[in-house]
């Protein structure tokens, strides 16, 4: 068990946040959000990882053999569903922003201030 996956996950979270903060394009911003989210996949999967474990499918292997944790894989799948929903919504909003503001740069979205 190494700390590497956790270090990478922390890096992805922070670099994704940096991308969102400095983003000049809403599509780029949505992608940065998925970068932040990839850190959660990594954390989940490395939490359940077992060295030399097989996939948790016991159809053709003896039930006593080592397998990785299936729960975190289910959580990751759920997470991917959440992710795709949010990305779809944000991309739809980006299209509308282009139509109504004439720009997809967050700096030009100046309807709400103060």
């Amino acid at each position: 068990m190494s700390f590497l996956p956790y270090a990478v996950a922390a890096w992805l979270f922070v670099v994704g946040l940096y991308g969102i903060v400095t983003s000049r394009h809403l599509v780029h911003l949505a992608v940065c959000l998925t970068v932040v989210q990839s850190s959660t996949y990594l954390i989940l999967l490395s939490t359940g990882y077992v060295r030399h474990g097989s996939a948790p499918i016991y159809a053709d292997i003896p039930p006593v053999s080592t397998a990785v944790d299936p729960v975190v894989q289910a959580l990751t799948l759920t997470d991917i569903v959440v992710e795709s929903t949010i990305t779809a919504l944000l991309l739809a909003l980006a299209v509308q922003a282009m139509k109504r503001f004439g720009s997809v740069d967050p700096s030009f979205l100046r309807q709400l201030r103060g």
Partner: protein, 607 residues
Amino acid sequence: MTSVQHLAPLAIVIPMLAACVIAGLSFLPRRVHELVALAAALATTTLCAILLVHAKHGQIVYWLGGWKPHHGVALGISLTVDQFGAGIAMLTGVLVVASLVYSTRYYDEVDGPYFALVMTFMSGMVAFSLTGDLFDMFVFFELMSVAAFALTAVRIEERGPIQGAINFAVTNSVAGFGLLVGIALLYGRTGALNLAQIGQALDHHPADALVAVALLLIVAAFLTKAAAVPFHFWLADAHAVAPAPVSILFSGVMVELGVFGAARVLNTAFAQPIEPSLHDLRMVLVAVGTVTAVVAAFNCFQQRHLKRLLAFSTISHMGIIICGLALLTDRALAGAAAYALGHGLAKGALFLGTGTLLYHYGAIDEFELRGRGRDLPVLGIVFVAGALVLASAPLVTTFFGKSLIEDAALSADYEWLPAVLALCSALTAGALLRATARIFLGWGVDAPLSDRTDSEERSQQESSQEEGADVEPHGHTPALLVAVPAVLVVAAIVAGLVPELVPSVERAAAHFRDHASYAGAVLAGRPPQLAPVVESHVKATAWIYALASTAGALLLAGMGLRGRHVLPAGIADALRAAHSGHIGDYIAWWTFGMAIFGGLVLWAVAG
């Protein structure tokens, strides 16, 4: 007690099914959609009421698919219903019903997907309140969030809603990912996702760095939903641009669910690990609540756009509710719950009231509407009554809630807290009274007396662009659009006077915070052993603070009518400038807040 647990999943499934039916039958006329949604909302509210009554005797535990725990190990997913959970689910139901009834006349044009989204939103909120599983809390947190993002942008052709929805979606999603990382870390440590099971695994161990980081990420995510400063920027944008029947769900119950979620995890999973550090953690959380209440109250007073004013007032009142959570005692939590009930109903009435103004006049700016509200006197009374609730005037529901929080603050040696909270109540209620007097009576100056013309011009432009840029004034108002807010505001005032309500909230809070009884009910199926609760009485100091905040509100309203400001120009402009509307800035603030709040929480819990 035999089969009542089967009602819990029904309360979640019914609105979900209604959403599917409405989305699938979107070719049917609007009235059919309204009827299906209304029937589902009423059924869910009734179920939550039954659950609320039965939860008096202890948690109602339902294991999905019959996967019950074996020898104290829970692999299945539970719904664990207690009085707080059922109560906030019922408040959700009541507000959804009010919103749906109101929207039958409010929207000139609305299609099926809107009602499907409202039902999905409701299902997510009810499920979030009833679940006993940490990962489910994440799933339902996301479900209600996604539905809420879409509902914010329901008027997709306008500019304000697009920007508001983007800011709302990005901020809450980032917080949600933090929540998931926290859950993954906890699962890695405990191998459990059930709240009671996590609590059992963490019992008898002082919190180490990993548990502290998990606690930080989870609580911070819920505080983002609850709009604690500096995670709060999304709220003002989202609430100001969403249509009125959606805003009441946001302000009335969604943000309160953030505090509820934080209280839930702190009192189940983390109950033992935080035990040694209660004193320090209390200090950190009270600081967050106080800063939120104060900053937002000053922001609120500066607003002239009525919905934005109410949005900032919501943030400020969330600060008060967070203080109730932060004191980490039974009494304070009971106070927070009673306060949330009164505030939720009153904010519902006020947001619907602004919706009615928009419907009638096609405008929502305080100066633009000056003196024009005389045609709707009843609505003016609703606004004044709502302001009384915000001021926690004596004997309204929020007064009882706040007196419990004050009482707990005094016993925890936070003598300064009640005075600060009274100031925030006075500022938010004063701002609303000022706007009410100007709109409905035509009192006060007719243009801002300000030499800061550039910022005023800016606010004029923006206020004409938020919800209602394209709304045609109707020039008349159906009685229903006044009746619904009136009913809600009456409920907000008298709920606290219902005999036995406040004492039973106190008992429910003690029950909610009883970690051992929760774990026993979930994992071992033990009936709870409820310790008798010492009920508190309203103290003389509470009357003084309530009268002071009410008088302060009148005074501040008078100042506001004469065009005076309460803050020096430099600070006021800085407060406004922070709300730049730029999502990058908001996430930078969020990261900054995580650094400060995170450092403090880690110091308090693991230090």
